[in-house]
Subunit: 250 residues, 2 copies
């Protein structure tokens, strides 16, 4: 990890909060969010950003790249429970759970912004509605994990992988990172395996099947979906669980 000088770019929390809130931010609230001091850091690929057992005094937002939440068994098997895309705050839970129960690592190289818990807590005290939005954010994260369980527990490898691609593509599309159903997917097949709960070898076979079927292409870390309708049908993908912004339907 390399510390970089603090930047004055538009604060990523503003965008995230605005996309999740069910109300419009006041100028005051927006200003308070922008005033959050954030320390930007860069990570190489496949580095732990925080580890299970840590007691962090800050949480972080993903600025660029991808990050994964994972746990491991004592015997070393690894299971990824969630991917996080730019704008997400993967360890928001650390605000209220001192002891981290999962690790979070970079997938490709990535940039993240750290914010001290104290600063967040002060913000929530001054602006309770913002605190509620972050609570909501953490609940949406939990909803994704529940869907992930349904996926690993009750779908075979083929539709399971299809579902993962549907989710990633949809979430990236929301933040403008999936034009033309194409997006960056910097993870190796080994990491896909850890996300899907299968072996890397079988990832390769399943990936081949999806490709042969003309559904997707995954080459040099880029994923393209050729037939979105068929892919979502195979995956039985219903994006409701993502709790995307259509405010009246939320």
């Amino acid at each position: 990890m390399t510390a970089l000088p603090r930047r004055s770019a538009p604060h990523p929390f503003v965008r995230k909060v605005e996309s999740v809130a069910l109300f419009t931010l006041t100028e005051d609230e927006r200003a308070a969010l922008c005033a959050l001091p954030m320390q930007v850091a860069q990570f190489d690929a496949y580095r732990d950003i925080v580890r299970e057992g840590d007691r962090p005094a800050r949480c972080f937002a993903v600025l660029d790249g991808f990050v994964s939440t994972y746990k491991t068994t004592l015997s070393g098997k690894r299971q990824i429970a969630a991917f996080h895309v730019p704008g997400d705050v993967p360890d928001i839970q650390s605000l209220h759970l001192k002891l981290l129960d999962n690790s979070i690592s970079s997938i490709g190289p990535c940039r993240v912004g750290f914010v001290q818990h104290d600063a967040m807590r002060a913000l929530f005290q001054a602006h309770p509605r913002i605190g509620d939005v972050f609570w909501r954010i953490s609940l949406i994260d939990a909803a994704l994990v529940r869907q992930w369980i349904l996926n690993t527990g009750r779908r075979e490898a083929y539709p399971r992988m299809a579902h993962l691609f549907c989710e990633v593509m949809t979430r990236l599309d929301v933040v403008g990172l999936a034009p033309e159903r194409t997006c960056s997917l910097p993870m190796t097949q080994h990491e896909l395996a850890d996300a899907l709960g299968i072996t890397p070898v079988h990832v390769n076979r399943t990936l081949g099947d999806l490709t042969e079927a003309g559904l997707i292409t995954l080459r040099s870390r880029r994923l393209t979906v050729h037939d979105w309708d068929r892919l979502t049908a195979i995956a039985e993908f219903d994006p409701t669980y993502l709790h995307l912004g259509c405010r009246d339907s939320e």
Copy 2:
């Protein structure tokens, strides 16, 4: 579901909040919790209490019995994402996510207590620390689901079932419902299957294996663990993720 007259028993939220909070409640806070109006209802076994897609205006606490949070695929396969024991508030998320993304049903017959969202929100406004505790409760629930994913994704049926039993026994012990490593387990093998992501037939075989190994007995809806050390070893069970109350370690 049958509506019962309101009871004046000690409010279950008090106990739950006290067990999860990292501080001691003031008299004021305790009184406010006790003043929460709650409507008690009784459910038969295997009834949905709330359904995916609902927009509830209240949430509920489990008073007696067990309930399960589950989702289903379009093709009808079912996956249980969590069990809830007396004292839990399984749909706390509905406070901030209008649209429920999972169903919750009773396992055995059970009693639950409904509390209007408005009442909860008023409480949180008057006592922000209590709001924080409920946030913490929802984060702990999320931690359990992440562990559940590791379990279904990266363990075979035998240790997976062992792990589930370890978790249930530990959580019931916390609320005094597992004396002598024995507890009620009112679910059928079919529901165990839906929790573990395997088939009922294989549940039966695995259950037989655990029994033959002298680890457990499961008869007439009662689970007994005969060799806790060996069971936890097989399950690689580490209760840290449950975020139990040892306050200094949290």
